[in-house]
């Protein structure tokens, strides 16, 4: 499935600028010359194995299907909204005008246009369903797909198997868990959370390296002293939090002592041009960081495009404060996504990483077909679009369709459980795999009878 066609998409148009030239996509232009790339491969720092990795771009707030990837230009004005469709690289496949760069990448992308769930239109619930495949009921918290991957495959080398950028999803109104953690698998399978803004000036992973005066001899002495003190209280033996702290220390030591791991987080070694192309936004730089992490052995990276839906410009376009207006798709949120997503696909392709890296992008639900009195659209789990690309995914296709107003699936509906099944299938995990559930009972990664969307493969 290796795709070498990305270079062909470059347009040598009149008035070629330096920026355009950089766009012209060799590895060198993206900051890593072939020799460096080869040396990474030789050191085993680049994933060469058959394992499929995954980058999940979680579009917090929930993009409107009608204004993005499932436009209805023939529908009445109060349905079709303010944006116009544009042609893409795939004849007959249109996307919204807010994604001009993405249009050139659609050969890599498969659209699922009939995603839906039956349940409350609450952000938190959509977050759970899309990232774990299940609704949290009866006191059971189900694990995020990336945490399941961590549990089943462990880490490749020194990097953590699963990283969450830049921060977990914060409060979005429902006061419920968002499905980003390991749930019943236990917190030791939680992702490593960056908790920093990769777009901040002087960004680095907080406290990744010891101060220079703490020499390695002192490091050793510290460890031994700490061990001597830590034996003291028996209360900690049965405490999950205390065990987790031990595991965190062990992981932190591994991360600190690994050059590959440290390099993975070093965004400063990316040329400005590359950083510009991803977009100088928190999301853009997180996507670039995701690529570096995958390149160096991380199996699963989640990028939360936003942290919350309140008092921040997001996909959550109710049209009134503290939410966002629909126009933000054109002037802020749309371009932010378009730049980062398109560059990520190009970049992964050029580095030969797209073949074994799935790139997912979706929100927690769709939005109401009819524009509301505030000029926005409200929550609508009845139908929306999910984007799958990379790894074993066959790009350039549309699977499923919505009805004439994008309200319900008309063809090939896909449930959120099937989304999880599809991700697991793409990652090469058998769907009848059991996980150790609460009180020792096995719980299948997806319920019996839930099938992946095989049309994608």
């Amino acid at each position: 499935m290796f795709r070498a066609d990305a270079n062909k998409s470059v347009r040598f148009c009149d008035g070629l600028t330096r920026r355009d030239f950089l766009h012209a996509g060799s590895l060198a232009t993206l900051g890593l010359g072939l020799p460096a790339f080869a040396s990474l491969q030789a050191r085993g720092a680049v994933a060469k194995d058959a394992d499929v990795n995954c980058i999940m771009l979680f579009l917090v707030g929930a993009p409107s299907q009608l204004d993005t990837w499932d436009m209805k230009p023939g529908a009445p004005e109060e349905i079709r909204g303010p944006f116009k469709p544009i042609a893409t690289k795939i004849p007959g496949l249109q996307v919204s005008e807010i994604f001009p760069r993405m249009a050139g990448q659609m050969d890599k992308v498969a659209l699922l246009r009939g995603v839906h769930y039956e349940g409350a239109a609450v952000h938190d619930i959509g977050h759970q369903l899309m990232q774990t495949g299940r609704l949290f009921t009866g006191g059971i918290e189900y694990p995020n797909v990336g945490c399941v991957l961590s549990k089943l495959k462990g880490s490749k080398g020194d990097t953590p198997p699963n990283v969450l950028l830049p921060k977990p999803i914060g409060p979005t109104g429902g006061n419920m868990p968002h499905g980003q953690f390991a749930g019943f698998l236990g917190k030791s399978f939680d992702p490593f959370v960056l908790n920093a803004d990769p777009n901040a000036k002087g960004f680095k992973v907080p406290d990744l390296l010891p101060p220079d005066y703490v020499t390695s001899a002192r490091e050793t002495r510290r460890k031994s002293l700490r061990q001597a003190i830590d034996g003291g209280v028996a209360a900690f033996e049965s405490s999950a939090d205390a065990k987790l702290l031990d595991a965190n220390f062990a992981q932190a030591y591994r991360l600190m002592s690994s050059k590959t791991a440290r390099e993975a987080f070093n965004l400063n070694s990316e040329p400005d041009a590359v950083r510009d192309r991803y977009g100088r936004t928190r999301f853009g730089q997180s996507c670039l960081l995701a690529r570096r992490l995958i390149e160096r052995g991380v199996r699963f990276v989640t990028v939360n495009m936003f942290e919350t839906v309140f008092n921040e410009i997001t996909w959550d376009i109710h049209g009134s404060a503290p939410f966002s207006p629909i126009e933000c798709y054109k002037n802020e949120v749309g371009p932010n996504f378009d730049n980062a997503y398109s560059t990520l696909l190009e970049d992964l392709t050029q580095r030969g990483l797209l073949a074994n890296t799935m790139v997912l992008a979706f929100g927690e639900f769709g939005r109401t077909p009819k524009i509301n009195p505030a000029g926005g659209r409200d929550h609508h789990p009845g139908c929306w679009t999910a984007l799958f690309a990379g790894g074993p995914i066959k790009g350039g296709q549309v699977v499923g369709a919505s009805d004439e107003i994008g309200s319900a699936p008309k063809d090939r509906p896909v449930s959120t459980a099937e989304i999880a099944a599809t991700i697991y299938h793409g990652l090469g995990i058998k769907l009848d795999t059991d996980l150790p559930g609460p009180q020792g009972r096995p719980i299948r990664i997806v319920d019996h009878g839930v099938e992946p969307v095989l049309e994608l493969f």
Binding site: G119, A120, A121, V122, T137, G138, G139, I140, G170, P171, N175, K187, F192, V193, N195, P206, D207, L208, L209, P210, P211, Y213, V214, R218, R221, R222, S224, L225, R226, A228, I229, D230, G232, V233, A234, A235, F236, S238, S239, D241, A242, L244, L245, D246, N248, F249, A252, L255, M256, T308, F310, K370, D378, H380, P381, G382, A408, P438, Q439, R441
Partner: protein, 819 residues
């Protein structure tokens, strides 16, 4: 079992046939009696085994049922009774030679009153899922057919059915041709699939309602007033099954079996699962509630699945210092979980100071407490803590989290005014009802009356409704803003009734920049976004005010909060305070008081709330009660049989120190305060009025942003980022390296290694080191200096070694956790 008691009990039963259940009989019918009013009424009976006061197994499947007078009623094999004629008789059940009976009255057998739209047809729709949020109950409806969510608007639904799609949706002349029957039975294509079968009671209800002329909902319809679940609590074993019966009582006095149309959910599926019909299966040990939802009312039954019974002496001899201990030991005994012993003085001192004041005891305080022989020393300690300035710092910080005090959205003087007012309330121990009133009715200049800033932070009725509900009631109403709450009983109408309490607040600029004057206004209403109308101002379930009333509506809200029968207000704060001490509320999460999220120990919760009310909302009394209990003083070390318990307080559950407490503890032990820009040297993080001052350490350890009213803003879980911060961060390393640190001072004073180790343990871990620890640490320090001759190098090597010792202590679990 001998036959004598059985005979005796049968004898008694004959005399007491219609009295209360006979205590000698080990089985009973549930419900204990029933009244079938009208020809359509039915009632299912369960046969339940009883041991002592507890229901212990469902014998209905094994029982044979009969009715004494078959002219009055008939009973099916599963215990469902149907009327045959007016009269009084008894339902009789026999199991294994035991017999039990229940009174049964049938009246109005000749009256076949039509199905009620509100009380029969809509519940059928709800149970079948027709009016769920995912189907026709969605705001936009589904496939052109829109019902109100879970049937909250009977009149609207009736109009939709009777007026739209005339002659198709409902065909009066041929009910079976109606779309509302053809679709859900799958006779014609239905996006939602087949929901009901043509031979079901559900089908009959709808069909007969149409055939009978589609009785319209009216105010004269009986209203549901309460819901009862039988059994209301049951003790079962692993693998057991149990059915439940749900009865609704109506305003006309009628009681009906609504089990069939109720919805069921388990609060802990690892203990008990429940299916659509209300059949429970025990999956694990512990306790779970099965919640029952019917017509916007919530009931529940508690399922206990104990570990093997323990020697009753364990509980009989356990210490009972106050009401908390009494209830908790009863709970532990019912679950078969043994309590851990007392924690000992050193652990109690450390725990009490951290939980009540967020500070560690100084080395001298530890020594003095350990040698004090006063038997009341713990109670006296608690009293000292409650009047300490650190108590005020700690609780003012906590309530500042709750009320989102921050200079992110307030000008600095306003932020200070708000904080100072909160602080003063804590210092004066203003009762919680008065405190709440002073916030929700605050008016005047926001710098003179700092609490008025609450209305500056939350500027519109929507924001005020949601933040006040979270802060004072532990209820999240957000969902009901746009539609009826999909998981709770709150409707959009109730939401806008509540919001209208806050619609008459005006803000105008004050004299200084950032100064705001908050004024109650005699007019202004918020409009219901769907109906465009105005809802009378109404605090949730309470009585509505007249729209024309020109008084300050916020006063009515404050008065409702402080009504003794307010089901949320006292409970919410009791649970918040409880959470502070046990790191888990009796209700978890601490601010989620949904009816479907019951507490882990309802009798204890009720007793605490009653005690809190009896003491007039006195927070310090509540704290004293909690800290004075034997439960609070239990060791954090589990004993065999309670290792897995984190819910029932059998041992103290260890918890990581909150961000600010941890940072202050590090400053205290190292002797080096953390600088905060704009604050004087030595200012502790718990004294900050604001969460804006930059601190990557506090952020990494979960300091809340104070942007939305939710306990979920604070994170207390360990993470790898925290491990990195402890290992490599500037906070720990910088403090130890500082020239002002206790390390520097101890070395300058020529303190011996032993003395330093002692002091470190007392100040950081609130205990003396063991001999083994002293030896091991002492030898590591000695090794560090081995072979160094140059006196200058000895000094620097010694310094590094002691720094490392401190580092190792400040990053140890014993230091990082409250235990």
């Amino acid at each position: 079992m001998s036959s004598r008691p059985r005979l005796w009990s049968a004898f008694l039963a004959m005399f007491l046939a219609f009295g209360p259940p006979c205590l000698a009989e080990p089985i009973s019918l549930l419900p204990g009696k029933a009244h079938l009013d009208g020809r359509k009424a039915t009632q299912r009976f369960l046969v339940e085994r009883r041991e002592g006061n507890a229901w212990t197994s469902d014998l209905s499947d094994k029982a044979t049922f009969s009715v004494e007078n078959p002219k009055v009623a008939r009973v099916s094999a599963d215990g469902t009774v149907t009327p045959q004629g007016d009269g009084t008789t008894a339902v009789v059940a026999k199991v294994d030679g035991h017999e039990t009976r229940a009174e049964l009255v049938v009246s109005h057998f000749d009256v076949d009153s039509p199905w009620s739209f509100k009380n029969h047809v809509l519940p059928v729709f709800t149970k079948a899922g027709c009016n769920s949020g995912a189907c026709h109950g969605a705001a936009a409806g589904k496939a052109g057919f829109r019902l109100t969510l879970r049937g909250y608007g009977p009149e609207i639904d009736y109009d939709v059915l009777s007026r739209q799609a005339v002659g198709r949706r409902v065909v009066k002349s041929a009910p079976a041709e109606s779309l509302i029957l053809l679709k859900p039975t799958g006779a014609i294509d239905h996006g939602g699939g087949t929901r009901i079968s043509t031979d079901s009671l559900e089908y009959r209800v709808i069909a007969e309602w149409i055939a009978d002329g589609m009785t319209r909902p009216s105010d004269a319809d009986a209203k549901i007033v309460s819901l009862a679940v039988s059994p209301d609590a049951v003790r079962l074993s692993l693998g057991d099954r149990q059915s439940v019966v749900v009865q609704a009582t109506y305003s006309d006095g009628r009681v009906a079996d609504v089990t069939r149309w109720a919805k069921f959910a388990s609060t802990d599926e690892t203990v008990a699962k429940v299916d659509e019909d209300g059949s429970i299966k025990v999956e694990g040990r512990g306790e779970a509630s099965v919640t029952v939802w019917y017509a916007s009312l919530v009931g529940r039954t508690t399922v206990t699945s104990p570990s093997k019974a323990l020697d009753p002496k364990v509980f009989a001899t356990a210490e009972r210092r106050n009401l908390i201990d009494v209830h908790n030991l009863a709970k532990l005994q019912s679950l078969g979980i043994p309590p851990s012993p007392d924690s000992g003085d050193a652990a109690f001192l450390r725990r009490a100071m951290l939980d009540a004041t967020g500070t560690l005891p100084a080395a001298e305080v530890v020594e003095a407490f350990l040698i004090d022989r006063n038997p009341n020393k713990r109670a006296e300690l608690v009293n000292r803590l409650l009047v300490s300035p650190e108590y005020v710092d700690y609780w003012a910080y906590k309530w500042s989290d709750l009320f989102l005090i921050s200079s992110k959205r307030l000008a600095a003087p306003a932020m200070w005014a708000f904080y100072s007012a909160i602080r003063q309330s804590v210092a004066e121990n203003v009762t919680w009802d008065k405190f709440a009133r002073s916030i929700v009715t605050a008016k005047g200049d926001s710098q003179t009356n700092g609490l008025a800033n609450y209305f500056v932070l939350h500027r519109d009725p929507i924001d005020l409704t949601e933040s006040a509900s979270m802060a004072f009631l532990g209820l999240s109403l957000t969902c009901a803003r746009c539609h009826n709450h999909p998981m709770e009983k709150w409707t959009q109408d109730q939401y806008y009734g509540m919001a209208n309490l806050f619609s008459r607040v005006k803000l105008k600029d004050g004299a200084a920049v950032g100064d705001v004057v908050v004024l109650p206004s005699p007019e202004g209403d918020i409009h219901h976004p769907r109906t465009g109308g105005i809802m009378p101002p109404q605090p949730l379930d309470a009585k509505a005010l007249a729209i024309s009333d020109r008084g300050d509506r916020r006063e009515a809200f404050a008065s409702w909060l402080a009504q003794k029968d307010n089901p949320y207000f006292a409970r919410a704060i009791v649970n918040r305070v409880w959470h502070n001490f046990f790191s888990r509320g009796l209700i978890d999460p601490e601010d989620d008081l949904r009816a479907t999220n019951p507490s882990s120990d309802e009798p204890l919760m009720n007793a605490l709330v009653a005690d809190f009310l009896a003491h007039h909302y006195d927070i310090k009394h509540l704290i004293r009660t909690i800290m004075g209990s034997a439960v609070y003083a239990r060791s954090s070390v589990p004993v065999p049989g309670n290792e897995a318990d984190i819910k029932f307080l059998s041992h103290y559950v260890v918890k990581r120190l909150p961000a600010e407490v941890l940072l202050d503890a590090m400053s205290q032990v190292s002797g080096v305060p953390t600088p905060f820009t704009g604050y004087p040297a030595g200012w502790r993080s718990l004294q900050l009025p604001d969460t804006k001052p930059e601190s990557t350490f506090l952020d990494a350890f979960g300091r809340p942003e104070r942007e939305s009213t939710c306990s979920c803003e604070r994170s207390v879980e360990p993470s790898m980022g925290q491990a990195l911060s402890l290992l490599n961060g500037e906070v720990v390393n910088g403090k130890l390296r500082s020239d002002g640190s206790v390390v520097a001072k101890a070395i300058a004073a020529g303190m011996s290694d032993d003395a330093m180790i002692d002091r470190l343990f007392l100040s950081a871990l609130s205990r003396r080191p063991t001999e083994a620890e002293r030896t091991k640490l002492g030898s590591t320090l000695a090794e560090s200096l081995a072979g160094i001759k140059d006196p200058k190098l000895i000094v620097s090597a010694k310094r590094a070694a002691i720094e490392d010792l401190y580092w190792a202590t400040l990053t140890s679990k014993e230091f990082l956790f409250n235990h």
